[in-house]
C-alpha cells in the first residue's frame, strides 16, 4: 500500500485514526507492517502490500 492511503483509512470497528508501523517497504510501497488503531489499540497486519482490515472476529488466527 502507498503511505498516502493513510489519509482516508480508519479502524473498521470504531472508525478512529490508524497509525502506520512499517517493517518493510520498497520505494513508496509499504509491503509489510501494521496499522494500529489510536483508540482501541487493535493492530491490523499489512502483508504483501495489502492491509488486512477485517474486524478482529473475522480475521484468521494465523496467516494462511
Amino acid at each position: 500500500m502507498q503511505e498516502e492511503l493513510m489519509d482516508i483509512l480508519c479502524c473498521p470497528v470504531d472508525k478512529h485514526e490508524l497509525e502506520l508501523e512499517v517493517d518493510d517497504r520498497e520505494d513508496d510501497e509499504i509491503l509489510t507492517g501494521r496499522l494500529v488503531c489510536t483508540e482501541c489499540g487493535e493492530a491490523y497486519p499489512i502483508e504483501d502490500g495489502i492491509p488486512n482490515l477485517l474486524p478482529p472476529d473475522m480475521r484468521d488466527e494465523a496467516p494462511a
Binding site: L9, C10, P12, G49, P51, N52, L53, L54, M58
Partner: protein, 224 residues
Amino acid sequence: MPAGDGDSVDDHRSQARVREVYDDIADHFAQTREYPWPEVEEFLDDIDGTRGLDVGCGNGRHLEAMADCVDHVIGVDVSRQLLGTATERMAERGWSGALLQSDAAALPIQSGTIDAAVYVATLHHLPTTEQRRASLTDLARVLTEEGRALVSAWSTAHDRFDASADAEEGFDTTVDWTLPSGETVPRYYHIYAPAEFEDDLAASALTVESVRVSSGNCYAEVSG
C-alpha cells in the same frame, strides 16, 4: 471442499464461509469476470472526482473502469485470493489502485472521503438483514456530500429462480460455482425481492435517487 448431499443453506450463511468459498474459487472466478457490467459503465459515464471505491471488487474489473473517471481507486474485498487476482490484473493492464481486505459492513475508510462508489453483486452475500442494512449505512457514511453510488443485488426477478418478483421478501439459497474440474462449490446468496431491496435502502442512511430491475438484478443509484 465438495458439497455433500446433506448441505443446507445454513452451512454457508456466514461471512467467514463466503470468504472461504471465494478464496477457493478465486482464480477461476476471476477468469470469468472479464468485462464490466453495462449498468456499471452507464453509471460511470457521469462520474468524476478524486476517489472511487468498489466494495466487493473481486478481480478489479470495475475498479479498472472507474480508474478512467476518478484520480484514485480503492477496492475492498473479503477474499484475499480475489484481491490477488486484482493485483495481477493491474500489473497486466497497466493501471493502479489501492486494495484492502475488508468486510462490506465495516469499511475501514474515513467518513466523507469517497466521491463515487460501486457496491455491485456483493450485498447479497451478507448473511442477515441487519448486516446488509449496516453495510448500506456504512456506504452512506464514506460518501462525500456530493458522492454517489451504484448498489446492485440478485433479485427474485432473475429467470434462474422460480420466485415471484412481486413477493414482499426474498429468500436465502446457495448457488453453485462449477470449477473446471467439475467440482461444485455452493455460494450463499440472499436473493432480494425488489420491494425488500427498496425497504433495506430506505432503512439505511442512504438517499435513493433511482431504483430499477435490470438483467435479473435490483439496482439503485444512491447518495450519502
